[in-house]
Symmetry: C2
Subunit: 127 residues, 2 copies
């Protein structure tokens, strides 16, 4: 697997067939894996839940540091990985950065893992 990973931040919405809907193309698997990798850290999962819990699904970085008990540079580093994966957007307003959930991406990831396709019966094939 030496294929370079495409940038997905801008075009990831609805990009990928579900994991449970048939054998994924390599490119779709790379896009999904990049997003899952960003979620593969407990601090980032908590940060995402904190942003989602804010009114409007948006939070100031100033509200995130204290609950996770980490410095602002460390929180910003984690947030950059969520932004780069397309899960969150970042907007600078004066002194502070504001982060917002991208519901379309979360919805796409949620659908990608939905086992519903299994009960519908995938392509028949056995060992």
């Amino acid at each position: 697997m030496t294929t370079s990973l495409p940038l997905i931040a801008a075009d990831a919405g609805g990009c990928c067939a579900p994991v449970t809907g048939g054998v994924l193309a390599v490119e779709d698997a790379q896009r999904l894996a990049r997003m899952f990798k960003a979620l593969g850290d407990p601090t980032r999962v908590r940060l995402l839940s904190m942003i989602a819990a804010q009114s409007g699904g948006e939070a100031c970085v100033c509200d995130l540091t204290e609950p996770v008990g980490l410095s602002q540079p460390t929180v910003s580093h984690h947030m950059k990985q969520l932004v780069d994966a397309g899960l969150v957007t970042r907007e600078q307003r004066g002194k502070w950065a504001y982060y917002a959930i991208v519901p379309e991406i979360l919805s796409m990831l949620s659908s990608a893992l939905d086992p519903q396709a299994l009960t519908d019966g995938g392509p028949a094939s056995s060992c």
Copy 2:
């Protein structure tokens, strides 16, 4: 974050509150992150989709090596990570190992990322 990760393979079903349903407890975030980390690799995402695409959501390791173009030990190494994360079960039958999707875990992960909770309005709080 020096807390040790709990073993989750056996008890992960329905373990975690959704990422979009309020601020996650550290332990829930650790459990979710461990599963997302297992999915944070394109080969493992493809392997999962291949198993899901088989009839009954189960596949022989002998059917997985050729499509991903990797050796059986490498595939088995990837599969171990999916098994350890609780996403897949492994059963030895004679010469071959058979892997099966765990729909309850995929369903839980799918629900954990569902942005539906956002539109219902989370706990009000702002910067």
